[in-house]
């Protein structure tokens, strides 16, 4: 519980965070940036879980636990994504998203 800040304000923040992530995902041209945007989306959820746990259901730690797992999984995900990006970089020398448009239609 943070004094003076209601759950609505924090949820608004996380929602904004979520959409920043989405926006970033859609508009960035660099694969790494996109990856970061995904992290933002994840983090929005993470914050959500913690806040909801804290403000609404403080007697159980489900939300907090969940958020820890999310962080861990997100880390794995990022690692994997980065490794694939590196592999791509090895082949074409670029990490621009526009280089990944060979397959279409």
């Amino acid at each position: 519980m943070i004094a003076g800040i209601s759950i609505y304000e924090i949820l608004t923040l996380t929602t904004i965070l979520f959409f920043i992530g989405v926006y970033g995902f859609i508009t960035r041209t660099n694969l790494i940036s996109i990856l970061i945007s995904v992290e933002l989306i994840m983090n929005a959820s993470v914050v959500n879980f913690v806040i909801i746990n804290k403000y609404l259901y403080p007697d159980m730690l489900q939300g907090v636990l969940f958020s820890i797992f999310i962080i861990a999984v997100a880390a794995a995900e990022t690692a994997l994504a980065v490794s694939i990006i590196i592999n791509l970089y090895r082949q074409i020398g670029s990490v621009e998203v526009k280089e990944t448009e060979i397959m279409k239609y």
Binding site: L31, M42, A44, F49, E77, A81, Q91
Partner: protein, 475 residues
């Protein structure tokens, strides 16, 4: 806590042990004998599959996070059979290509990890376990998609898959957080009791639903499908399209039928709309494809649309028909991919045009392909017909005649492009047809198993009855 209760996790534990064993083997087996790991893996997995059929178990672990019912158990077995066939079909490819690049074992480790994730996902009793399972099943596949590191499209497929998947799971998580907010729990059973049709809950459900829709590749969350299927190695494509999709359908159905049951009036409409979009878009795209993998990708999108016809039923009839269909679908699609795999391995050709005149040089392969396509299209007497018919029955029993009608229109469209392949193989004559070749034992075994499945699953009715009984218990 009684250790015997770990028997509930029999599947998971054995698979984990196998995975670890392979890891160990990878370390200790000298480089020139790495090929034997393929035999070992298949052998071990074969034993695992057989063990799976020994007795059903029922119960929950970890305070309900993990649960097992005969239905779940059965479905795991189904997945096992699918993976086993897949392994058989991939064995030659691994031995001839991948082992030489020193990464034969990785394939098994990643694949089994993904399968392990699915086990957890479908056994999940709460959203945490579900989420972990989901991620565990997705991430290794992304790695597998990029498995052929020397190929650019393989990397592209990997990128597309992992980023899309991350986005999807992010959205899904956001939805789960909303559900958590309204119900105060992440346990399925608790949520099911608490859930009411308020806006936030519905939004949560929709967000969550899209996450799984992504895995099942429902329109408009399907765009990654074709690209990833095309870029990834065939075995991985095959895995994605049958095993991964099957598991996702299963858990989606469980959630919709139990946790979100009170919201059925919302999601049945949603499913209605998405089913239509999925069938039409999938079929329209498929009808234009020339690359076999891409072709099968869209076809599998369309098939997902048909599956929704069973889901819309919302009762155990729907459940049973969907499971039955998925089972049939696994066999049919594996057969199709198996043939593509075999041909690609021998000739490197993956285009429909290359298949012209195939029947005159390789009649058996063509026949397998024909059976598979007929099964996918739903032509009796092969199993696909029964699968589809029952799905339609499930939808019709709720009075969705219009939906069924549009679905059968789609069956006709889909028949068109399946016939295109048959046209290439049977009707055309080609000077430069793919020459005759024979497959090795594993591949043959893999194809024979699928053919047996395609032919017998439909005609052998007790199987359906068995599934129907199981589905009763779950609900």
């Amino acid at each position: 806590m009684d250790f015997s209760s770990f028997l509930l996790m029999r599947h998971e534990i054995i698979l984990l042990v196998i995975t670890l064993l392979l890891l160990v083997a990878e370390i200790f087996i000298p480089q020139q004998k790495k090929g034997s790991i393929v035999h070992l893996a298949i052998f071990l997995f074969g034993i695992h599959t057989v063990l799976g059929f020994l007795g059903n178990v029922e119960g929950a672990l970890f305070g309900g996070m993990f649960r097992n019912t005969p239905m779940i158990h059965f479905f795991k077995n189904v997945l096992n059979v699918g993976v086993l066939i897949l392994l058989l079909q991939s064995a030659d490819w691994l031995q001839e290509k991948m082992v030489k690049q020193h990464k034969g074992t990785e394939f098994f480790i990643l694949l089994f990890s993904s399968l392990l994730g699915m086990y957890f996902m479908i056994s999940a009793g709460d959203f945490l376990m579900f989420y972990l399972g989901l991620e565990l099943s997705t991430l290794p596949v992304a790695a597998l998609a990029a498995y052929e590191t020397s190929k650019r499209i393989s990397s592209e497929a990997g990128i597309k898959l992992i980023l899309s998947a991350a986005l999807a799971s992010g959205v899904s998580l956001f939805g789960i957080s909303m559900l958590y907010a309204t119900s105060g729990s992440i346990y399925f059973n608790d949520i099911a009791e608490m859930i009411t049709a308020n806006n936030l809950t519905i939004l949560g459900m929709i967000l969550f639903f899209t996450g799984l829709s992504f895995k099942i590749s429902l329109v408009p969350f399907h765009f990654w499908t074709a690209d990833v299927y095309e870029g990834a190695p065939i075995s991985v494509t095959s895995f994605l399209s049958v095993i991964s999709k099957g598991a996702a359908v299963f858990i989606l159905m469980i959630l919709l039928f139990t946790v979100f049951k009170p919201l059925m009036h919302v999601w049945e409409n949603m499913v209605y709309v998405i089913a239509l979009m999925t069938m039409f878009i999938g079929n329209l795209f498929a009808s234009r494809q020339k690359n076999m993998k891409r072709f099968l990708a869209y076809s599998s999108v369309a098939q997902a649309g048909f599956i929704l016809l069973g889901i819309i039923n919302g009762e155990h009839l729907g459940f049973a028909t969907v499971i039955y269909f998925v089972l049939v679908y696994i066999f049919s699609n594996l057969a199709a991919f198996g043939v593509v795999q075999a041909i690609s391995l021998k000739t490197g050709k993956e285009n429909m045009d290359d298949y012209e005149g195939l029947y005159r040089t390789n009649p058996k392969l063509s026949l397998v392909m024909m059976l598979a396509l007929f099964s996918l299209a739903g032509i009796p007497p092969v199993a696909g017909f029964f699968g589809k018919f029952f799905l339609f029955t499930a939808a019709a029993s709720k009075g969705y005649y219009l939906l069924v009608f549009l679905a059968v229109v789609n069956v006709t469209i889909s028949l068109y492009y399946y016939l295109l392949v048959i046209r290439a193989m049977f009707l055309r004559k080609n000077e430069n047809a793919i020459p005759f070749f024979t497959n090795k034992l594993y591949m043959r075994l893999g194809l024979v198993l699928t053919v047996l499945g395609i032919i017998t699953l439909g005609l052998y009715s007790p199987l359906y009855d068995y599934i129907f009984e199981l589905s009763k218990n779950l609900m």
